[in-house]
């Protein structure tokens, strides 16, 4: 697993969910002082990192299960 990719994707997730939270506020779905605004970026950070971890594991298992070359 590449650490750089992990950090980049986690940060992207953080920013994406931060802006989703901002959109929710601006559309009046949640109030400005809602704790959801705080939680959303943290969820994004975790999801972004998890995405890379899952992707790298899938790649790893695909390599391990690949049949040996004849």
């Amino acid at each position: 697993m590449k650490i750089g990719k992990l950090i980049t994707t986690a940060l992207l997730g953080f920013m994406f969910f931060l802006f989703i939270g901002l959109d929710l506020v601006l559309f009046g779905v949640i109030p400005l002082n809602s704790v959801v605004v705080t939680i959303m970026p943290i969820i994004g950070l975790v999801l972004g990192a998890a995405l890379v971890v899952v992707a790298s594991r899938k790649q790893g298992s695909a390599v391990n299960t690949a049949p040996p070359a004849a």
Partner: protein
């Protein structure tokens, strides 16, 4: 910010600048009272009766406000702020302090909120006032009349959402494709 200052000052503890006491809208605890009337929109808000109701105010109007405390305030102080999501705390709009024997105050204030202030967003404006009569505090849930697209801020927010969501979506798609590819490869 002048408008917000007025709305809150007028709404919550308004008159404090001149004498004391203030009015305001919303949940209110303590020895004080207050109210405001929006001239153009016929909106009237009384601090004691509005409760937890969300008050929708026009972007531009003139408000007649009044407020009082139970007796001559003597030395007084207070402030008004907008609550932000935790852990960001608050943004103070105004504060006051001094000495006075006047236990009520009233006034009229024009305000015109700039377009950048988003409409339809719920703000919690909180205020407190302390004088020789005791402590008074309260809050009002406010939103500006209109929709999300009344402010240009929404476009910036949507563009930034797309710019950050796009790469994530691409990554997710690539991951799904590789998983599907690996599944097909493994099935052979």
């Amino acid at each position: 910010m002048k408008t917000i200052r007025w709305v809150t000052a007028g709404l919550l503890f308004g008159a404090v600048m001149v004498g004391s006491g203030s009015p305001a809208a919303a949940q209110l605890e303590g020895e004080c009272s207050g109210s405001g009337v929006w001239k153009d929109s016929d909106l009237a808000v009384d601090a004691e009766s509005v409760g937890d109701e969300l008050v929708t105010i026009p972007r531009k109007d003139t408000v007649d406000w009044q407020g009082s405390v139970s007796g001559p305030p003597g030395e007084y102080s207070g402030s008004i702020w907008i609550e932000l999501p935790p852990p960001f705390g608050k943004v103070e709009i105004d504060n006051w302090g001094g000495t006075s024997d006047n236990n009520n105050n009233a006034g009229s204030e024009d305000y015109d909120l700039p377009k950048l202030v988003p409409a339809g967003v719920e703000f919690k404006v909180v205020g407190e006032h302390t004088d020789s009569n005791g402590h008074c505090e309260g809050y009002v849930r406010l939103e500006i009349e209109g929709g999300a697209f009344d402010s240009p801020i929404i476009w910036g927010a949507l563009v930034l959402t797309a710019l950050t969501g796009g790469p994530l979506a691409l990554l997710l798609i690539a991951m799904v494709k590789s998983a599907v590819g690996a599944g097909i490869g493994g099935a052979r």
